[in-house]
């Protein structure tokens, strides 16, 4: 922290915010399945996964709070919607189970590629945290892979159209944070996001070919982490409704 120069420090803060906001927002959307998922057993499983994401967001916000001298809850609940940096994929509402599986599969696989890189970060607090996160994310991958394969076999068209809908905005997971060059130079980020994107596509192609699922041609959008939607504005209104209801109150 103190050993970091101002430039990579600012870029690191941006990077942490993008990963944390991704986990926070997808964790919020999918926590909405708690109580209404397709089967009781699956209800508990999906709830655990969304709780894991909130837990990861909390740890990342805490790391960020240490850099910026604030606290994790203030970062999570104290910002206007426009200041969030999650990928456009997470702007969409929960929708239905097919969209949830499609989005989660794309997110989990992309996140796995990103975390594998960040586990090699030169910034030790980040690489240590990411190593812990990956131990929980491996279950998410297994579980979403199980669902992708089941829906591909038994509800192919629903899954395919959900994937087509999610695909363009999923590329935004690889929209680099401001200051990527400084992060690469300091080896905080071992590989550029463009390379991670290629790696991800390389992993998905054979799986999607095997399951006869569509891959839509789409580039990584430059505004992929700044675009906001009405769905997200609604979610933001929900999660700040109590936290913002009384200035200075402790909850």
């Amino acid at each position: 922290m103190s050993e970091l120069d101002a430039v990579p420090r600012q870029a690191l803060a941006e990077l942490l915010l993008t990963v944390a906001d991704d986990e926070f927002v997808i964790g919020f959307w999918d926590s909405e399945w708690t109580g209404i998922a397709p089967m009781l057993e699956e209800d508990v499983a999906m709830s655990s996964i969304s709780q894991d994401e909130i837990g990861h967001a909390r740890a990342l916000y805490e790391l960020l709070a240490g850099l910026t001298d604030t606290d994790a809850d203030a970062i999570a609940f104290g910002r206007p919607a426009a200041d969030f940096r999650h990928a456009a994929l997470l702007n969409h509402a929960r929708t239905d189970w097919a969209f949830t599986v499609a989005r989660r599969y794309l997110y989990e696989t992309a996140d796995a590629v990103r975390l594998a890189a960040l586990a090699r970060s030169s910034y030790a607090p980040l690489s240590e945290l990411v190593t812990k996160m990956r131990r929980e994310e491996s279950y998410h991958l297994l579980h979403m892979d199980a669902w992708l394969r089941r829906l591909a076999a038994a509800a192919h068209d629903r899954l395919a159209s959900a994937l087509e809908r999610a695909w363009p905005d999923a590329q935004a997971i690889f929209t680099p944070p401001a200051g990527e060059a400084a992060l690469l130079e300091a080896a905080i980020l071992p590989d550029p996001f463009a390379a991670l994107h290629e790696r991800w596509l390389g992993q998905l192609r054979p799986v999607f070919a095997e399951l006869d699922l569509p891959i839509v041609s789409a580039a990584v959008p430059s505004d992929g982490r700044t675009r906001r939607t009405d769905d997200f504005a609604w979610l933001h209104g929900e999660f700040t409704s109590v936290a913002g209801s009384e200035a200075g109150a402790t909850w």
Binding site: M39, E41, E42, V44, S48, Y139, L142, H143, A146
Partner: protein, 101 residues
């Protein structure tokens, strides 16, 4: 109604080396999801070291009291069936008196 999923019985080991104890059951259409759901219902609080997940139909139950609680004496099969306290005291006394002679 779709009711073709199966019941899977879950056994859990609390800590390394402990016996496997029946925890409960989950319903799942196949082994892979059964494992995931077993993890959720019997491991999500870090309360288990290991789980066994078994399709219910693989379990054979035996609860016939004629087989498990046969009525005739089985004390010779149990440590408690051998009461040696008085015999031991007598043997010690005898040995001590022989030594004293």
């Amino acid at each position: 109604m779709a009711e073709s999923d199966r019941v899977w019985e879950v056994f859990r080991q609390e800590s390394e080396g402990d016996p496997m104890i029946h925890g409960g059951s989950v319903r799942a259409p196949d082994e892979e999801l059964a494992m995931h759901y077993a993890r959720e219902f019997y491991g999500r609080r870090q309360e288990s070291h290991r789980l066994w997940v078994v399709p219910r139909e693989a379990i054979t139950e035996l609860d016939d009291p004629d087989l498990l609680q046969p009525p005739f004496d089985r004390s010779f099969k149990k440590p408690g069936g051998y009461i040696i306290k008085h015999k031991l005291e007598a043997a010690k006394a005898r040995a001590a008196s022989e030594k004293g002679e």
